[in-house]
Amino acid sequence: MGILFSDEIKAAIECLLFVANEPLSVEKIAEITQISSRNVRILLGEIQQYHQGRGFELVEIGGGWQMCTRPELAGFVEKLYRPKAATLSKAALETLAIVAYRQPVTRAEMEEIRGVKIDGVLSTLLERSLVQEVGRKSTPGKPILYGTTVEFLRYFGLNSLEELPSPEYLAAGI
């Protein structure tokens, strides 16, 4: 890529980010724009800076890059859309917490920790694509192992599982 083209390529990347319905990986952008991943990252940085503090910003989320509105402006979006606030139940969040930190984990292990049956909650999490089957445990009965999904990361605005703080850290902070 010649440096002369960077403005046009930057516009192309911005355009892609604008029309995409999901976070775009650096590799995907590189493939479409035919420039190196390294250059994509540089241009993403410039685009991010350009939109900083405006109506929508470029954020790294779920292993990709996506244009998102700023949380402070949610009130305006709600006036336009009145979106549904289908937040997760306490039971679902507790179960999800176990999956996130103990994955891969079986249903029995989750039930052991929470001290209750989790049938309904687990199917909710599966339906909402926050949790998925990731394999089978090599113990008698070969129980299904569960893990979190990319949607899980997006839903909570995380880029990777490493961004989750340790329970000890959280406990100390609260």
Binding site: V19, Y101, R114, G115, L170
Partner: protein, 251 residues
């Protein structure tokens, strides 16, 4: 007089226990088991009085608490001279505390995730309608890579999912069917068959859900009018429908 019952809903026995420990401001490593057990049982009792659904796990935990309480009341076993009991110093509460702490870990994380969820719920991405873009391109084949066989497979799947198999490929003049017509139809069928007709056969050739329902309502109406007799001679056996006169003659 006006009074209010405020009853928190707990996600499980651990959740309830935690609430009690926090409410009483007691040390989790030194739970006053008698008092906590009393409050725990009180809560369960309230739930039962109010006829609220109570997961069996709550009762299991109640039993566990009572057992711990009982063990705490037992006098310490006298030390055997010379040897030390491997159980010495073991607190009956230890296992419970361990499980509570493990649970607490995830409860904390759950609260954190709840905060993240609330924050992320205020962030919106652009809801692009992909269909809008597809129309921009020429010569897109939306069935690329698919064959007629895939279409057939899709249909088979719909078919197997649909409860009324085999009915879907005939025209169904649903709107025209009336109970009266069906009653007449059943009556004339029974007139032709002196030995009656089985319930199964009566519904075998109905085209759809609506028609089956109408047929059934028609049959009920005929029963009510005592125009037909419905009999089942063996439990679980075939149900037979007879015209009333025929039935009388048969007996």
């Amino acid at each position: 007089m006006e009074y209010q019952v405020k009853l928190e809903v707990f996600e499980g026995p651990f959740d309830l226990l935690f609430h009690l420990i926090e409410k009483n401001e007691v040390d989790i490593y030194d739970i006053p088991i008698a008092e906590i057990t009393r409050q725990y049982l009180e809560y369960i009792e309230t739930m039962q009085v109010l006829d609220l659904e109570l997961a069996s796990e709550f009762l299991v935990m109640a039993a566990t608490l009572l057992s711990i309480k009982a063990r705490m009341l037992l006098p310490k076993e006298p030390k055997l001279s010379g040897g030390e009991s491997p159980d010495e110093g073991a607190d009956p509460r230890d296992e419970l505390v361990e499980r509570l702490l493990e649970y607490k870990k995830y409860k904390t994380v759950a609260e954190y995730l709840g905060d993240l969820e609330a924050k992320q719920g205020r962030v919106f991405s652009r809801p692009n309608d992909a269909e809008n873009f597809f129309n921009l391109f020429d010569d897109i084949n939306p069935l690329e890579g698919l064959t007629v066989l895939d279409l057939v497979k899709a249909l088979q799947e719909v078919w197997s999912k649909s409860k009324e198999q085999g009915e879907k490929f005939q025209e169904i003049p649903r709107e025209e069917i009336t109970i009266k017509e069906k009653m007449d139809e059943i009556s004339s069928m029974l007139n032709r068959r002196s030995r009656g007709i089985s319930f199964h056969d009566l519904f075998a050739h109905q085209a759809g859900r609506t028609e089956i329902v109408v047929q059934f309502l028609a049959l009920l109406e005929l029963v009510r009018l005592q125009a037909v007799i419905v009999r089942q001679t063996v439990v679980g056996g075939e149900i037979m429908i007879y015209r009333r006169e025929e039935n009388k003659a048969a007996n």
